[in-house]
């Protein structure tokens, strides 16, 4: 136990870094993911094609490869920024296609009849989208997006393996110094992760119940 208490500042700093990774990559992925989703449902063919290729490639590349690319290949190619920023770029890029898919399936998940009805009472494109489709799509999209963020929380741990001192990285450091209390250290780190993931999971459950569309 004393290994945890005496290293608590290290863990808390790591926890802060993990939360920062989650925040920055989460916001970045939301922005890029929404843009990509917009491209994918747009009537412009080349954007649609680009968005499809972008989604398929990033979704099928293991996160370890994405972060390896950011941590080793980018500096090798002459990019000079610190590992935290590189990890943010990698996590954003990796998470954005999942957000894009969540948004897209939300929009596609609104029954066609809704849009047909809106069109048939004379609403224009903007009104159809803004007043009828989007309000329903957003409700359906929030729970899957929170799930993507939960996955992102867990995925930030991989950044710890690529020179970022997040929770996982600081756990490795502490383990090197206190090899006698490995078990307690790992459980403590797991609890830190659970604090975030379980909280987000609860929020998702509450939101899902609250915004559920009755059909």
């Amino acid at each position: 136990m004393d290994a945890i208490i005496e290293n608590l500042p290290t863990f808390l700093r790591g926890f802060g870094t993990t939360l920062a990774l989650l925040g920055i990559a989460g916001v970045g992925a939301l922005v890029i993911g929404t843009l990509v989703a917009g491209m994918r449902i747009s009537p412009v063919g080349s954007l649609r094609g680009f968005a499809t290729v972008y989604t398929e490639i990033l979704r099928n590349t293991p996160l370890t490869l994405v972060l390896f690319f950011c941590a080793f290949i980018l500096p090798y190619l002459g990019v000079r920024i610190d590992f935290f920023a590189l990890a943010c770029i990698g996590l954003t890029a990796y998470t954005s296609p999942f957000i894009a898919e969540a948004v897209r399936s939300g929009v596609n998940g609104v029954p066609v009849g809704q849009a047909e009805a809106a069109r048939s009472i004379g609403l224009r494109f903007g009104q159809t989208l803004g007043l009828v489709v989007m309000p329903q799509a957003i409700r359906m999209v929030i729970p899957p997006i929170i799930n993507v963020l939960i996955a992102l929380t867990k995925n930030t741990s991989v950044a710890g393996a690529f020179f970022v001192k997040d929770l996982f990285g600081s756990a490795q450091d502490v383990i090197v110094r206190r090899g006698d209390e490995v078990f307690a250290i790992l459980i403590a780190v797991a609890v830190f992760y659970l604090i975030v993931t379980v909280t987000l999971g609860r929020i998702a459950a509450v939101v899902e119940k609250k915004v559920a569309v009755l059909r």
Binding site: L47, N147, L186
Partner: protein, 309 residues
């Protein structure tokens, strides 16, 4: 969906979106060309020496050597072996968990809820480190066990949801013809739940294959470590980019193939779910609902983590 949102485009709107498409295509192509050109350009080091560009033959010549491909093949097989063993383990653990989670005895059921929450809320990487350090299993078994337990927890929850979504009559019918509760579960409920949840299980196995690359961190010689660490050390770091590129291409091919397979199976299972002789309207509604379900599930499960609820 998108076609319903606006009137069918007339000649002018079609022309406009064609122009937008061409402009967009040119911009994207220009960015790609710029990227490739930047990669191909020779770079000058701080010491003033000139290094060849990334597409220079001197960075790719090792791939003419058969021994290089053999080592890459070994790395790929290591990855596939870990994925295969972990996948079998994950399905087995998933079946076990689904039974424990739906057990009639509360003292089995409730602790399982906590255990599952714990297993699903923590990073796989942390679990690998845990198994590696606490049980001293070596990196191969650490990777296999962590992947099997983590994905087993998710598959178990999927199977449980499948069992609970069955009509009550299925179980009652099983009990009524004299099968015991366990026989009913095994031969009536479980096969149906498994079939219904097959798309989710396969989607989760795609995630598992992707996640084997995490074993890189605990020094298992899978594809990424074989190429970018062992081989880059052996042949020299000027091959780092090309070796990474090859590993990336192999991973991408494997995952795309498996995702494609998953999609085909999902479509088959969905098609099997359609009620026979339904009116066109209800069939369409059913199809739509099925597609939406699998779409949402794909997103939830593909995130590399799954739901923590």
């Amino acid at each position: 969906m998108t076609q319903v949102l606006y009137d069918a485009p007339g000649p002018r709107a079609r022309r406009r979106s064609l122009i937008a498409s061409i402009v967009g295509g040119v911009v994207i192509a220009a960015i790609l060309v710029a990227l490739v050109a930047a990669l191909a350009a020779p770079r000058i080091t701080a010491a003033g020496a000139e290094l060849p560009g990334m597409f220079d033959p001197s960075r790719w010549d090792i791939f003419l050597d058969r021994a290089v491909w053999r080592r890459i093949g070994i790395g790929t097989l290591n990855t596939l072996q870990m994925a295969a063993v972990a996948a079998v383990g994950a399905v087995a653990i998933g079946v076990l968990i689904s039974f424990l989670r739906t057990a009639r005895a509360a003292w089995i059921r409730y602790p399982m809820v906590l255990v599952l929450e714990f297993l699903r809320g923590m990073p796989v990487l942390l679990m690998m480190l845990f198994v590696l350090l606490i049980f001293s299993t070596g990196s191969y078994w650490a990777g296999v066990i962590a992947l099997a337990v983590y994905n087993g927890a998710i598959i178990g929850e999927a199977l449980r949801a499948g069992i609970q979504s069955l009509p009550r009559g299925q179980r009652e019918a099983g009990l009524a013809i004299g099968l015991g509760p366990i026989r009913t579960r095994m031969s009536i409920e479980f096969p149906q739940a498994f079939r219904q949840m097959l798309p989710i299980i396969i989607a989760q196995l795609v995630v598992l294959l992707k996640d084997t690359s995490l074993a890189y961190v605990i020094s298992y010689p899978e594809l990424l470590r074989t190429t970018t660490y062992q081989m880059a050390n052996y042949y020299g770091s000027r091959y780092l980019f090309s070796l990474f590129f090859v590993a990336f291409a192999i991973y991408l091919t494997m995952n795309l193939l498996l995702s494609w397979l998953a999609r085909i199976i999902a479509r088959r299972v969905d098609a099997g779910r359609l009620p026979k002789g339904s009116t066109p309207f209800s069939r369409r509604a059913e199809k739509h609902a099925a597609r939406r379900r699998s779409d949402v599930e794909n997103v939830v499960l593909d995130g590399g983590g799954g739901a923590a609820r």
